[in-house]
């Protein structure tokens, strides 16, 4: 059984059909890429999985359990983490605080214990800090630890967002255009990291990406969306030579009518 399944999902925003009858299955331990032209509905799909949008139709199943109606703050607890296309970091906090927030859902103490900073709270803080430092080492963020996000270069900010998602200890990570805005070197680093994350932490990764170099490098399975529907599915090579995909990205040759 697939780890994450999306069955016949549709989402409308008034007259705009963002997603129409989309079905997708992601196998455990894979890197699954989601590509398509701008406006195809890829981020909308992620937002539905994250619980930020509620789909009008269809179901999302994670580990066999229906999570279509689960509120957004409960999704991370089930094991799904995500990053955002335009970075949603806590800009006035330090890198460390941002990543430490990834450990928030693992806390067990209530507000009264926290007010008094009881030993239990202290222990959990230290344990969380240990985990976070491991991630910081993994992603080489040591020198940025105490800096405020707003002052950091874009590439580092992306890294922090990745780190925060990792700190949640997820089973699935949804990465929304992680290579956007990165230069070729950084994009290559990203490929290594995605591979490392998959192997070291056994995390299944779903990737929305425009950079075909990254897609070819890391993903095993690719789904192509266009105007809210799935137009192709398969390995990176299969998909790249698929006529419907070429048409979606490059358009028709002159003189030929588009075929359904």
């Amino acid at each position: 059984m697939a780890l994450l399944e999306i069955v016949n999902m549709s989402k409308r925003f008034g007259g705009l059909h963002a997603l129409t009858d989309v079905s997708l299955a992601v196998e455990r331990g894979q890197v699954h890429a989601l590509i398509g032209p701008n406006g195809a509905g890829k981020t909308t799909l992620f937002n539905c999985i994250s619980g930020l949008y509620r789909p009008d139709q269809g179901t999302i199943r994670f580990r066999g359990k229906d999570i279509t109606r689960t509120p957004a703050h409960r999704i991370p607890k089930m094991g799904i983490a995500r990053t955002f296309q335009n970075l949603e970091l806590f800009r006035n906090a330090t890198v460390l605080d941002n990543i430490m927030l990834g450990r928030y859902l693992h806390k067990t103490n209530g507000i009264f214990s926290e007010l008094l900073f009881l030993p239990g709270v202290r222990r959990q803080e230290v344990a969380a800090r240990g985990k976070v430092e491991a991630i910081i080492d993994f992603l080489d963020l040591q020198s940025y630890r105490d800096q405020v996000i707003a002052h950091l270069p874009f590439g580092i900010q992306k890294c922090v967002e990745l780190a925060r998602a990792l700190a949640l200890d997820p089973e699935v990570m949804l990465l929304d255009e992680p290579a956007a805005g990165l230069n070729p070197e950084e994009a290559r680093d990203l490929c290594f990291w995605i591979e490392d994350i998959r192997e070291a932490f056994n995390i299944t990764i779903i990737l929305v990406e425009h950079d075909m170099g990254v897609v070819n490098e890391v993903s095993k399975q690719v789904t192509v969306l266009d105007f809210g529907t799935v137009i192709a599915e398969g390995s990176p090579d299969e998909v790249q030579s698929h006529p419907a995909v070429i048409r979606a990205y490059l358009g028709e040759e002159d003189g030929t009518a588009p075929s359904p």
Partner: protein, 359 residues
């Protein structure tokens, strides 16, 4: 530049990172403790009042500075705390030491209720909604004279510790000083726990906070209740200080004063709340003193106090929007990197985008 080599994560969690910080705090507390020996009763009384307001300011800063939820109606929580203590001590004859926590709890309950509509409101909508709540609570206070004494208010005695009544200004001053230190410690604790981080997360990006597992409704109601708790305790300490509770003390001017305190002091900073509270409390005193010095035709004007007060607030926001604490940090940084300070280090870049961010 100062450097501290830390070897364990526990060290990073300490409240005072450097020995010098601890020393400075110690000297400050020592100074405040021996102050009654040589300062007159007038100043001790005013400092006590400033201390009470700083607890309320801390509470408001938790809500507005850390979490970004604007409240224009904090005077209501202050009033609830004051009236609870007033009613319990003078009418029900319950000990002050039980009434005070009850005051905090009562205010927390009211804060929780006020926070409920706030879960869906942001920015100016939230501000006006809290203002409305404040007016409504004010009216409710008037409508139950059996408890609140209505327009006449309640008269109280100072509390006693066993057989010793805290009648002197100095004795009550120490009580408030202890309470301020307690609340500063509690707030410092919050900043190093997940809850504190969640507050800042909600302020900066509620969407991202949700995807990291923060349940906004729960955290927001908790912080509302907590903020109200602080303010309620402050109100509960206020009532016996002035020996009298009446609605005149809890008008919208108090809410405005509290906001002025945290803005002038520094939004989102613990030290800032205290500096701001002291500054604004003493400002009214200084203006009064200024009245005696200035030539008669200026000072005798009827609106003099209000005009100066309004002007001071406006000037602060124009020239030092990060408040007293902000200015202190800038000066400290200047001294630390001297003589390599770059002139435009703190220049703010010109902002075109809309100031208000959606959630």
């Amino acid at each position: 530049m100062k450097f501290k080599l830390k070897r364990t994560y526990e060290e990073d969690l300490k409240i005072f990172q450097y020995g010098s910080e601890l020393a400075r705090a110690g000297v400050g507390v020592l100074f405040l403790t021996v102050l009654p020996l040589f300062a007159g009763n007038y100043w001790i009384y005013n400092l006590t009042l400033a201390g009470i307001y700083s607890i309320a300011a801390l509470g408001l800063n938790l809500l507005a500075g850390f979490t970004g939820l604007i409240s224009l109606g904090h005077a209501a929580f202050f009033a609830v705390g004051a009236y609870t203590v007033g009613y319990m001590t003078s009418t029900l004859h319950i000990s002050f030491w039980l009434a005070l926590p009850a005051a905090g709890a009562a205010a927390a309950v009211v804060g929780f209720i006020v926070g409920l509509p706030a879960l869906r409101l942001t920015g100016i909508y939230l501000a006006i909604a809290t203002l409305c709540f404040a007016f409504i609570i004010e009216q409710v206070i008037l409508e139950f004279p059996e408890i609140t004494g209505g327009v006449n208010g309640l008269i109280l005695q100072r509390p006693s510790l066993g057989s010793w009544q805290l009648n002197s200004d100095a004795s009550y001053y120490f009580l408030v000083l202890l309470m301020v230190m307690l609340f500063v410690w509690l707030t410092k604790n919050i900043t190093r726990t997940p809850f504190g981080r969640a507050l800042v997360a909600l302020r900066d990006s509620e969407v991202a906070a949700r995807t990291t597992g923060v349940f906004p409704a729960k955290v927001k109601s908790q912080v509302f209740a907590l903020s109200a708790f602080y303010t309620g305790i402050a109100g509960g300490l206020f009532a016996p200080l002035v020996n009298f509770v009446s609605l005149d003390n809890f008008t919208i001017m108090l809410s405005i004063n509290l906001i002025a305190m945290i803005i002038v002091g520094g939004l989102g900073s613990i030290q800032g709340s205290i500096y701001g509270a002291v500054f604004i409390s003493l400002l009214t005193e200084f203006i009064r003193m200024g009245k005696d010095i200035l030539p008669a035709f200026i000072s005798q004007q009827v609106g003099f106090q209000g005009a100066v007060y309004g002007l001071v607030i406006m000037l602060f926001i124009l020239f030092e929007p990060s408040g007293i604490y902000g200015r202190y940090r800038k000066i400290k940084y200047f001294c630390e990197v001297f003589p390599l300070y770059r002139k435009d280090t703190f220049r703010r870049e010109r902002k075109f985008q809309k100031a208000q961010r959606t959630r």
